[in-house]
């Protein structure tokens, strides 16, 4: 079974801090994604990556950056945390597959609170 592990389930940080969210997958998936989940808004894509050292902006990249130095690890960075970044963050991975046909496998999420 594919396992996507997010380093923290709950995290509390202060405004202005630099915050790192880590995600590791154990199935050699090429694709990795970071989403945030907010009530009434569903999942919104922040960044994604289709290969090591490759990254592409999603729909809401402002205030975030990512790093993918190794195939299995995809990190989300909040450069200077703000209260409007309080949210549930979900990491996902998938096989490269055929034209985006492969389903995503999700971690259990990190609930981040910025005070």
């Amino acid at each position: 079974d594919v396992k996507v592990t997010q380093s923290s389930r709950y995290l509390v940080k202060r405004t202005g801090e630099k915050v790192f969210l880590e995600c590791v997958q154990d199935m050699d998936h090429e694709n990795m994604f970071w989403y945030r989940q907010d009530p009434g808004l569903g999942l919104r894509l922040i960044y994604f990556s289709y290969d090591v050292k490759m990254k592409e902006k999603g729909d809401i990249p402002e205030g975030y950056s990512v790093s993918r130095e190794k195939k299995e690890r995809f990190s989300l960075i909040l450069e200077s945390a703000s209260t409007n970044q309080t949210s549930m963050y979900l990491c996902a991975s998938s096989l490269k597959g055929t034209r985006g046909s492969q389903p995503q496998h999700f971690g259990d999420g990190t609930r981040l609170s910025i005070l």
Binding site: V4, F33, Y35, G40, L41, G42, L43, R44, L45, F48, Y50, E56, G58, L90, A92, R99, G100, S101, P103, Q104, H105, F106, G107, D108, G109
Partner: protein, 116 residues
Amino acid sequence: AQSVAQPEDQVNVAEGNPLTVKCTYSVSGNPYLFWYVQYPNRGLQFLLKYITGDNLVKGSYGFEAEFNKSQTSFHLKKPSALVSDSALYFCAVRDITTSGTYKYIFGTGTRLKVLA
């Protein structure tokens, strides 16, 4: 741009009754559609997908979905609901970026409550 809509925030159904969770889509070209389920304090789990072929797709936990091209819908169904089906359900569609890569657009989610 591609989009999906889940018109119902919440669906209530009695245990043993059939359930339907609605999803409509707007895409250019052939749609790649997915359903996921989220239980409390967990990530999303894949249920089923439609890429091509039969309009009725069968998935995990007894769920199925019907693709209807003329109505641009992909409704999730189950013949007999269980209390354990109570969860948050998301519909998603594949999108093609300007650089030719693939990403996914999710609906806002529908909370299903199955009443004993």
